[in-house]
């Protein structure tokens, strides 16, 4: 424990998880922005674009999900 009055204490894994959530958030937003744009330009393409979007969503979202799963792992390691 530090003697500095304003020392921030706690688990740095919490910060790590917060940073890890930025990338996938931006990525998923970009995917669906592209789908909305494409549907606006050509409404007949909506179903094809949507099915591609879900595949891309699954691949991008895995980084966010790995983040939350590893947050528990790091919390467990820090606690033990």
């Amino acid at each position: 424990m530090s003697n500095i009055a304003l020392a921030i204490t706690g688990d740095i894994a919490v910060l790590g998880y917060g940073l890890a959530a930025i990338g996938p958030g931006v990525g998923v937003g970009l995917i669906f922005a592209a789908v909305i744009n494409g549907t606006a330009r050509q409404p007949e393409a909506q179903s094809k674009l949507q099915s591609i979007a879900w595949i891309g969503f699954g691949v991008t979202e895995v980084l966010a999900i790995i983040g939350i799963a590893l947050a528990f792992v790091f919390k467990g390691q820090a606690g033990s």
Binding site: W54, I55, V62, I65, I68, A69, F72, G76
Partner: protein, 260 residues
Amino acid sequence: MSAGVPTQFQPPGPQNFETPPIFSGVDWFTKPVLVATLSVIVIVWFFWGASRKAAVVPSKLQFAGELGYNFVRNSIARDAIGSRDYMKFVPYLCGLFFFILFNNVAATIPLIQFPTFSHIGWAYVAAIMSWVIYNAVGIKKKGLWGYFKHQTMPAGVPVWLMPLMIPIEFISNILVRPVSLSLRLFANMFAGHILLLVFVLGGEYMVFETGSIALGGVGILTFLMGLAIAGLELFVQCIQAYIFVVLTAQYIGSAIADEH
């Protein structure tokens, strides 16, 4: 839990996923094993019933069975692998899809409410099977060196870039793919189950185990929000089953693809 006495809230975590053996003598027969066995029985019974008296004008069960089978065969297998070789892989992809789908949705079915793939061993096995299949098929079609060349040295890349390309492509095509397949399925089921637990356990704690009425009201709202989250989780469960099988089909397709 005695009424009116505040207790400390235990946030849900990995300890909520411990599944004790159902019969005290048999250590390995836990809830995920039971649910997986049940899923196999239900899937076999469904498809056997759907294909039993196959008529030109289908009955409702046959129609449902054909709908499910055609979904995997056409929109997953044929589109990803190509119309020449896809039939060999349809049994595996179909079985994999319905197995993962049932076991995922079991997390929402009352009385079961546990996703099998939130124990990572199950996800590892499914990913390793897909990995062995797409590598074995690629090696059988092109030979060991030809397959390695196909995966790590894409066409049209200048020679001086190869020392950079080969390790990157090897790691991403051969080493990382099974890891990401298994981790994606496991982490989605794990995190989804924990999300549901946060809402339900938090709601229950706020309603019953804190002293205050205001928090009790918030607890009821939390519990209702948990219902909405259960709907979201049902959606995620179906999507994750679909993505696992689509990615497996795409890996198989790219392993046996011809050079242009």
